[in-house]
Symmetry: none
Amino acid sequence: MTGPRTGIARAAIIGGGVIGGGWLARLIENGIPCRIHDPDPEARRKLEAVLAAADRAYGKLTMTPRVARAGWELAGSAAEAAAGADLVIEAVPERLEIKRRVYAEIETVNAAGVIASSTSGILPTELQAEMANPGRLIVAHPFNPVYLLPLVELVAGAETDPAKIDWAKEVFAGLGMHPLHCRVEVPGFLSDRLQEALWREALWLLHDGAATAEELDAAIAYGPGLRWAQMGTMQTFHLAGGEGGMRAMLAMFGPCLKWPWTKLMEVPELTPEFVDRVGAQCEAQAAGLSPRELERIRDDNLVAILQALKANDWGAGRVLAAYERAQADRGAAAGTGGTGGSDDAGDAPPAGPVRTLARAVPPDWTDYNNHMNESRYLQAFCDATDALMRLIGADADYIAGGQSYFTAETHIRHLDEVAALEPITVDTQVLGGAGRKLHLFHEMRHGRDGRLLATGEHMLIHVDLATRAASLPGPAVAARLAVLAEAHAGLERPEGVGRAVGQKR
Amino acid sequence: MTGPRTGIARAAIIGGGVIGGGWLARLIENGIPCRIHDPDPEARRKLEAVLAAADRAYGKLTMTPRVARAGWELAGSAAEAAAGADLVIEAVPERLEIKRRVYAEIETVNAAGVIASSTSGILPTELQAEMANPGRLIVAHPFNPVYLLPLVELVAGAETDPAKIDWAKEVFAGLGMHPLHCRVEVPGFLSDRLQEALWREALWLLHDGAATAEELDAAIAYGPGLRWAQMGTMQTFHLAGGEGGMRAMLAMFGPCLKWPWTKLMEVPELTPEFVDRVGAQCEAQAAGLSPRELERIRDDNLVAILQALKANDWGAGRVLAAYERAQADRGAAAGTGGTGGSDDAGDAPPAGPVRTLARAVPPDWTDYNNHMNESRYLQAFCDATDALMRLIGADADYIAGGQSYFTAETHIRHLDEVAALEPITVDTQVLGGAGRKLHLFHEMRHGRDGRLLATGEHMLIHVDLATRAASLPGPAVAARLAVLAEAHAGLERPEGVGRAVGQKR
């Protein structure tokens, strides 16, 4: 690795807590060597824990290869850390006198490096008031975990050199962050004023016994929080007004701003001029996208966020997972897709191949040729296999009980094209179902004209989900499968079974 | 489809705006027939737009087959809609007198169905005050978009029958929602008190000229909002205290609660008793997980959310995408990256198999077992095939010129599992490339430990896109392919080539 793009040869960090440690992780990940000072005798152990967490997160964050981490060392004092650093990040406790003492110490050894305070809300004008070179003091307020969250608020004090803000914008963007220049110096800046308004209300609700911490958190994480991960409160409410956007929202909620909102707290008066200002700013932010277009983007983001949380089995994602399992069961009970399946399939097996899928090709299964993408043929066959599983009783409950079938091998012949929204069907024949193995053959046809579109041949292995090893199916599943296999044993062996890729006919 | 799991034979919705339309979408998606009333002459058009948006979102939301949507119809009056409904959802404007008038009309035709108000904050005790049968009135407050966000706040009034709340919990959970019972009746309930505290502060900041709508939204969506999608403010701050959790957080910020927070607003006094209550509730919510363990969960969620947003090129995900591109450039400049591909591959073909894919498994490629779904193995192989196509010049321009390769036959061995966000690579060997045919073999491995996850063998046929018939590739593509095929001709034939499904080793 050559030098980092930020142009910083070495950085210093004063304070090794949650925020200082997070800065250290982000800086060395980006190839910037650091010296860090914290008087806590446990500092090294605590920093190493943060760095381990960050290393784990970075390993999953990007798809590009990571560059080698830069080195870091503990320094015995703030002065020792700061000497020779281009950037000195201050992350000490939120007391003005402590911060000013640290700046004085830094200034004994470092005359020109930018000093960036991580303060959550103290004004830079107050921070720089006693400095010899106050022009180089900025606020760069990050958010925990600093190594993952992109936001950093940049704030200048009355004496700050504006060029230092420009420099910091480039530096922090180079570290993968989103610098937000807070143009007006207000206590708490922007993000913490908003966060703390919410936090204060939560503390009061807890204080008054209206809700517990867990209930207050649920009131965010299962609803508004999913919106806030992608759009702030202004754009969110711009979409709550329907086709009329923020102006309609303010008109709609205008009457009840006095009721019940004003039971809670004073709000700015919604004069026509103020409504116009808010509406115009929301429209400017939309950058030409209509509320409808923004809604589609919001929905795509919500779907993606819900799926992301589902993969981690957490919060709103856990709700989705439970819903999905229930849907699968419901599909099974009803015989998914209007097919030949029924609850008592074991008693009265279908005489021929089983109809395991009947649906239209979803538009997002097609590629720019407007035919079904090659990978979606397998998705359709997977859905068909799932339907057959449910038919023999290997359903969501069975899987929850720790057993399932995994596909080990697949052979597909792509025989014809099919366009978006065209109907397709899949019929499935059991070629073998003894012991641990299940050998299936699917035929996909056009739902109207019957053209053969593809065949899928699959070998599945029954698996114990605890050990991930092959195992025998439970007796009920084995019995249902045996009945079905026997019924299919007399059927003609379909053309194409046992083919290898490229084999002559 | 038999009756829905919720036990509701028919529902009514009074009010067809953003909220009423969202309820309609969620109910019919779950197989519950609905009648909806809205006096707006544009109601049908507006509802159809919401239903189209919901249909699009549901098509992507789960991997289970959707059940058939139930039917719906517009009703000429609230009474006509409500007659015979088990559940009547009221979503009319936020004015007490309008809502009471609607309830009176409903009660002329419907004596026993549950009436659920979507109000954002009016107390159910006030809503039910003039009802003949007030015991059946509950608040069920949803969040926009109602068809996607799981949160619904349930609130009882003084006269509400508690059994109706229990019934509603089951019904809404059956619709894929997360019912939050607000046990104490306070105006604004829980979520809107929190949301509106934030919204009020945002309006003041905009009013005072401290920031624009876009800046205020950035202050949320690039930082705190990414946390709130998964953890509320209590659990988030429980993690800001480092190893000491919420108690350490309150001790740390105790001194500055007077400064700068109290410049903004009054807060509850942090008496030892109150700190103990808050701390104990946060610890109870953690359910045995230490702050360190919760941090790992938070980080996994943040990574997954950032990647989800990256796939949609939005907000914090766009920042990540830019960072990733810069990292890739940086890696390329420094000679890392390690793929065999290069722009002049025709002149200097890779000696071994070509690295055609290197990525993390996207969360939406995994199923409820949290391993990559079987169909996504083929999607990864398709992406790898596309990369190889580009390498030999069969790129987007070539396809736009009317020629392409179509896959005719595929054989996949699923050899091992891989979880969401784990890295995977694909290396590709050309087994044959003469004439109209292209025979490829892909090996998919785990990106860190090198485990072989799957192999894919594919026969592609060169096609004239106008006639859809097999044809010879253009001379430039043929030449590049010949060079690559010759370079690979000396490689060992990979294990597994030519296998049929179920064939003995």
